[in-house]
């Protein structure tokens, strides 16, 4: 057996574990939130929980690929599409809610992406076009379904990514304390990084591309964790402990 598959499974495991720990930490911090930022916190939890679920299913799929059971692999791939497409919902909700302040508008707009996600899964089930190729780096799902690919890229990829980057630019140009800006921008950047490479991972054509995407996803999850819970080194850089004379 190739070592590449072990690297792939190890990366999957690392991403799912870090995301899971991050989700649990966010859940523990939930009681510190107020009425205004609770929806954002819940959405963040949903994003990382779905990333974690997505990679847990991917580990299982990779293990099934080793055994060579094609039908089970296809079933697991279809199951993994559910968290993959649903990730866009909380991302869109976060951006819309932060900008508009209206919870209902956020829910309505993110529901549109639920339709896109449903359409994507439906086209794959209906028209097929998914081929599994086992490389030295693990099992790849190559999609030849043009309709599904178009829905995926135009519906689920471009808009949420643009929304995150738009919010990032808004926050960057606002005059807010640097430490707060650092936390918010790094969080948004890491969500964008994870989301982009999550999609690149699912449409990757080669094993190397898949593993490289997973490395970036892992970096994104770690970055996001560090953005929410910054280490003392970063914190002291922005707050060097100046003694205030009353």
């Amino acid at each position: 057996m190739e070592y590449g598959i072990f690297v792939n499974i190890f990366l999957d495991l690392a991403i799912s574990l870090v995301s899971l720990v991050y989700t649990i930490t966010l859940y523990n911090k939930y009681c510190d939130c107020n009425e205004n930022n609770r929806p954002t916190q819940v959405s963040s939890m949903m994003i990382w929980a779905m990333v974690s679920i997505c990679f847990i299913i991917d580990i299982t799929r990779q293990l099934v690929a080793i055994s060579g059971n094609g039908t089970l692999q296809m079933q697991l791939y279809l199951i993994s599409l559910v968290p993959l497409t649903l990730v866009s919902l909380p991302i869109v909700f976060i951006v819309i809610y932060i900008v508009s302040g209206n919870r209902n508008v956020g829910i309505i707009v993110s529901s549109i992406f639920l339709v896109f996600g449903f359409l994507y899964i439906y086209t794959i089930i209906q028209f097929g076009g998914i081929n599994f190729v086992t490389t030295s780096w693990g099992s790849l799902a190559i999609s030849n379904n043009e309709i599904a690919n178009t829905i995926f890229l135009s519906g689920l990829f471009i808009v949420p990514t643009s929304l995150i980057l738009g919010l990032l630019i808004i926050i960057l140009f606002k005059r807010i304390p640097m430490f707060r800006k650092h936390k918010i921008c790094l969080s948004l950047l890491s969500i964008s990084l994870v989301y982009d490479f999550l999609l690149l991972n699912s449409i990757s054509q080669t094993g190397e591309m898949m593993v490289a995407s997973k490395i970036f996803i892992f970096l994104g999850v770690v970055l996001s964790y560090l953005a929410s819970f910054p280490p003392n080194l970063i914190e002291s850089r922005y707050d060097p402990g100046i003694i205030v004379i009353e």
């Binding site: 911090k29 107020n34 929806p39 916190q41 900008v99 302040g101 606002k174 005059r175």
Partner: protein, 121 residues
């Protein structure tokens, strides 16, 4: 200048500027209300003291507004007293009113950002 005056909002804006250590001008609710009432009527219309009091009575007594009219508005030529209890805003007064309007916009902008940041945990 098209102006709508909401005493509660102006109080909120004045409190914000006071919290920044600006207690005169934008941070003074009396100043805000008087200059806005005068600007609302424009430079071609006489503003009656009773008209000003319609707004200021909710936040100040008659005497303090009367003395403010004399010591700040008339002294700095923001208004001209044209008859007993009748004032007309000057060009300087219109500049001051524009500044007060801009200070409200700045407050709204800051409030919007703060509300946005409040939604981020």
């Amino acid at each position: 200048m098209k102006i709508k005056i909401h005493v509660e909002f102006e109080q909120e804006v004045a409190n914000f500027y006071q919290s920044l250590g600006i207690s005169c001008g934008p941070g003074d609710i009396h100043y805000r209300l008087v200059i806005l009432v005068l600007a609302k009527n424009g430079e071609n219309k006489i503003t009656r003291f009773s008209e000003i009091r319609e707004y200021t009575d909710k936040v100040a007594d008659r005497g303090s507004i009367g003395s403010k009219m004399k010591n700040i508005f008339q002294l700095h030529r923001l208004v001209k007293k044209v008859e007993h209890g009748g004032y007309v805003i000057t060009e300087e007064g219109l500049h001051a009113a524009k500044f007060i309007k801009d200070s409200s916009d700045y407050y709204n902008n800051i409030k919007k950002i703060n509300n946005m940041l409040e939604r981020i945990p």
